[in-house]
Amino acid sequence: MLTIKPSSGPHTGSAIGVGSIMRQVIYALLPATAFGLYLFGWPAVNLLLVTLFASLAFEALCLKLAGKPAIPALKDGSALLTGWLLAMTLPPWAPWWIGVLGAGIAIVLGKQVYGGLGQNLFNPAMLARVVLLISFPLEMTTWADVTPWLTESAPGFYEGLTITFTGLSNPDAVTGATLLGHVKTEWLQKHPLSESLSDFGTLNMWLGMARGSLGETSALLLFAGGMWLLLKKIITWPIPISMLASVAVISGLFHFFDPERYLSPVMHLGSGALMCAAFFIATDYVTSPNTPLGQIIFGSLCGLLIYMIRTWGGYPEGAGFAILLMNSLTPLIDHYIRPRIQGRDRRGRPLEEKMIKGER
C-alpha cells in the first residue's frame, strides 16, 4: 500500500479542483441559459450545442497537435465553459458557422496559442465575440424577437434547423434592436430618452423578456447565478461589486444632470450583458488581477470603459471591448499591486519596529 513517495507537506488538502470550479460556474449559468433557450427556442438550442461541440473539438485538436493527452484536459471543463460563455453572448438565431468560428477563435487563438489553460492574456470568449462582432457586424447584431417556447410564434424543430443552418429568409420580420441599440439609434436621430423609452418596460428588461444575446437577457437570473458563485466562494466580491458600483455611480451622475440624454443606473445594471460580464467574464481567474486591490481597480475601470463605450462609443454594448482592454492591463496591475509582506513595508524593506519604552 505504501507506494506514495514521501513529499513535502501539507499531507492533506481541500477537495476543490479545477474541474469542480468549472462545473460550478456552468451550474451558475444554467438558469440564465435555460431562460434564453426558452425565449428563443430551437435555433438557440442548436447554436448552443454547435458552439459547445466545436469548442471541445478545437480543444482536442489543439492538444493533439501539441502532443498532449486530450482527455484529461477536456475533462477539466475549461473548454466547455469557454464555449458556453461564448454562446451566451451570441445573438440567439445566429447561423451555425458563427458558433463554430467563434469557438475556433476562442479556443485556438484565445487560449491554445498562448500555451493552453492558464496562459492566455485575454478572456477567450470575449476575444471571440469581439472578433466576430467586428468581422460579421450583420450576423452579430441581428437580434431575434422574443418567441417563447410553446407560443404560436416560436419556430418548430425543423424551422429551427433551417434558421441555424441555412439562415433567416426574412430577417426584418422576426428581428429588431436591443434596448441599448435602440436608444443609441434614436439618440442619433435627436430623440430624447422619454420618447425612445416609451415602449420599454424596466421590469421586463430586468426579467429578460427582451431581445438580446442568447443567455444575456435576464439580468436577474445572471445576478442570482453570480450570487451563488459568491456564496460558493468560486469568485470573490471585489471585481463584480466594483464593476457594478462604478457603472451605477457614473451613470447615476450623468443621469442626474441630464435624464433626457443619459440612461439611468437601473437601465444600465438591468442590461444582462453587464451582469454577465461582472460575474462571469471579468472574474475569469486567468485574465484578472490577483490581489483584492488590483481586482477593485480592474473592476472599476472595466465599469468606466463599459459606460464610456455604451454612451459615447460606436457600439451600443461595450462589455467585450472593455474587458479585453482591461485584460491587457492585468499584468501591469499585478506588477504594481502586491500584498505587503509580513514584517516588511510596502517596498519590501524590513519594518523598523522597536520596543516602545512605555510598554514595559
Binding site: G13, S14, P72, D76, N290, E353
Partner: protein, 491 residues
C-alpha cells in the same frame, strides 16, 4: 468591536478540516508499556548535537544524563528509563530522508529506577539565572515543534527586558490534540510553569492564546489562572496557521515583528504550553524532559488517542499500541499534516519534537495529478506572510531562484496554506523548499570555490616566493664561490 479590529490583524489563513474530535475528548493514555529498547538520538533540538557522557555497557538510571550539551545553542539528552547502554551508533532519524544520526541505544530493565529522590524546590527563591541553568540542564526545548533550546530563549527574554510572555496554546494543526489535552488535564501545572518562566525572565505579564475550538482547555486554563491576574487567557479564532508566532504576536499585541528580526524586537517572546509544562516539571521536581504526550491519529489508526511515551520509543510501536493498520496506511507523518514530515518508514524514534504520529490512509493524503495553474489567486489570499506563491513557483520552475527571492521566498514559513487550497494540486511548498535548499547548496558551492581559488593563489605566491628565495640563494652561493675562487686566484 475590539474583536473585529483584532480579526483584521489576521492575515490570510485557512479553515482546515480539523479531524480533532476523535482524540480531543479522550484522556491522555499513561499505560503505554515500556519498550524493551529505546533509541535516543543525540540531536533532538536546534543547534549542536549533544556529546555522550556514558559508555557502552554502562548502567543508567531513569533521568540520568546521557549526553551533555555542546556550545551556546544545544541541549542535553537524558535516559528516559533505567537500563543498560547497548550501543552508541548511527540510527535513522525521524526525518523524510531517514538519514542516520548518532543515537544512544538503551536496553531497559523494566524497573524504571530513578537515580535519587526527586528534589522539590521553591522556584521563586531561585535567582532568575538559576532558572535558565536548570531548564538548560533538564534538556527542555520548544515542544511546539521548533525544538529551540528553551533556556536560550529565557535568557534572551531576560536580556532584552521583554514586557509580555506569550504562550502558544493555538495548536492549529489538524488532528493534533496533545496540547489541548495537556491544558485540560494539567492546567495548574502549565500555569505554574508560566509563572516560573515569568520569574526566570523577570517579566511581569503573560498572555495565553487558545483557539476557540478548544472550549474545555479554555475553561480549565481560565480556572487555573484565576488567582494570577498577570496571566491572561485569550480566546483566539480558529484559523490555520494561528500558531505561527508572528501571526499570534500580531493578533494578541498588535505588533508586527520586522522581517529578519526576533520577537524580542517588539518586546515579547513565545513559548508553547507543553514547554511550560516541561519547565514546571524540571524546576519543581528536577525531572528532565524524557517523555512527552504524542497524538496518535489518522484514518488507519483504530484507536486514535493521546499517549505519553518515553523519548526514544519507536514510532512503529506507538502505532501498534493504538491499533494502526499498516496495510491501510498511505503515509506516515510525524507532526501535523500541514507542516509535519512524511516518514519513509515507521521504525524511527519518538523525539522531543514529536507532537503527533499520523498514519494517514491513501484517501486522506492529498494527491492527484498536477494540473496547470489557473491563476485563481487562492494561494495569494491565504498566504499569512503576504507572499505571491504562484509567482514564486513560476520563477522557481524557470530556474530563476534569485528572482523568487526578490519577491519574498525567504519570508515563506512553509505553512502549506497555499498547497492546501490549490485546486490544481501544485506542490507549491515543495517548490519553495527545493529552491531554499538549492540556494543554500549554491551558496556553499560558491563559498567552496572561492576558498579553493584563495588556496591556489596562496600556493602560487608561496611557490613564487620559494623560487625567488632559491634563486637568490643560488646567486649568493655563486657569488660566494666566485669570490672564493677570486681569492684563490689572487693567492
Amino acid at each position: 468591536m475590539i474583536a473585529l479590529l483584532q480579526s483584521l490583524r489576521i492575515r490570510g489563513g485557512i479553515h482546515v478540516n480539523e479531524h480533532k474530535q476523535a482524540t480531543a475528548g479522550l484522556p491522555i493514555d499513561d499505560s503505554f508499556p515500556l519498550p524493551k529498547r529505546l533509541y535516543i538520538p543525540l540531536q533532538q533540538h536546534v543547534g549542536k548535537p549533544a556529546e555522550p557522557v556514558v559508555r557502552v555497557g554502562d548502567t543508567v538510571f531513569k533521568g540520568q544524563l546521557l549526553a551533555h550539551s555542546q556550545g551556546l545553542i544545544s541541549a542535553p539528552v537524558h535516559a528516559p528509563s533505567s537500563g543498560t547502554v547497548a550501543d552508541i551508533a548511527e540510527y535513522p532519524a525521524p526525518h523524510p530522508s531517514a538519514l542516520p544520526i548518532r543515537t544512544v541505544f538503551l536496553d531497559t530493565d523494566g524497573t524504571d529506577t530513578v537515580q535519587s529522590g526527586e528534589s522539590a524546590t521553591d522556584p521563586f527563591t531561585l535567582e532568575p539565572e538559576e532558572i535558565s541553568l536548570r531548564v538548560a540542564s533538564a534538556g527542555v526545548v520548544g515542544l511546539g515543534g521548533a525544538t529551540f533550546p528553551s533556556a536560550v530563549k529565557l535568557n534572551l527574554g531576560r536580556q532584552n527586558k521583554i514586557h509580555t510572555l506569550l504562550i502558544n496554546g493555538g495548536e492549529c494543526e489538524p488532528y493534533l490534540t496533545c496540547d489541548d489535552r495537556l491544558m485540560q488535564e494539567n492546567a495548574a501545572e502549565i500555569v505554574d510553569g508560566i509563572r516560573i518562566m515569568l520569574h526566570g525572565m523577570e517579566t511581569g505579564r503573560a498572555m495565553v492564546g487558545i483557539e476557540d475550538n478548544k472550549p474545555e482547555a479554555l475553561k480549565a486554563m481560565r480556572t487555573a489562572a484565576n488567582f494570577h491576574p498577570n496571566i491572561e487567557i485569550c480566546k483566539i479564532p480558529t484559523r490555520y496557521p494561528m500558531g505561527w508566532d508572528r501571526q499570534l504576536i500580531r493578533y494578541l499585541t498588535g505588533r508586527e515583528v520586522p522581517a529578519g528580526g526576533r520577537a524580542t524586537d517588539v518586546g515579547v517572546l513565545m513559548h508553547n504550553v507543553a514547554t511550560a509544562y516541561a519547565i514546571h516539571q524540571a524546576i519543581r521536581y528536577g525531572r528532565p524532559l524524557i517523555d512527552r504526550v504524542v497524538t496518535v491519529a489518522g484514518g488507519a489508526v483504530a484507536n486514535p488517542k493521546n499517549v505519553r511515551v518515553p523519548i526514544g520509543t519507536l514510532i512503529s510501536e506507538v502505532l501498534v499500541f493504538c491499533g494502526a493498520d499498516k496495510t491501510r496506511t498511505g503515509r506516515w507523518v510525524m507532526g501535523g499534516p500541514m507542516m509535519g514530515e512524511a516518514l519513509p518508514f515507521a521504525d524511527v524514534p519518538v523525539v522531543k519534537a514529536t507532537s503527533g504520529v499520523l498514519a494517514l490512509t491513501g484517501s486522506e493524503v492529498k494527491q492527484g495529478e498536477e494540473q496547470p495553474c489557473i491563476r485563481c489567486a487562492r494561494c495569494i489570499s491565504v498566504c499569512p506572510a503576504g507572499l505571491l506563491p504562484v509567482d514564486m513557483a513560476n520563477r522557481i520552475r524557470n530556474n530563476r531562484l534569485e528572482a523568487a527571492v526578490d519577491i519574498g521566498l525567504k519570508d515563506c514559513i512553509s505553512c502549506g496554506s497555499c498547497s492546501y487550497v490549490c485546486p490544481s494540486n501544485i506542490p507549491l511548498v515543495h517548490y519553495f523548499k527545493f529552491a531554499a535548499g538549492e540556494l543554500a547548496a549554491r551558496q556553499q558551492a560558491k563559498h567552496k570555490s572561492e576558498q579553493t581559488s584563495k588556496l591556489i593563489d596562496e600556493r602560487n605566491k608561496r611557490m613564487e616566493r620559494i623560487e625567488k628565495q632559491k634563486a637568490e640563494e643560488l646567486a649568493q652561493a655563486r657569488a660566494a664561490k666566485e669570490q672564493s675562487e677570486k681569492a684563490d686566484t689572487t693567492i
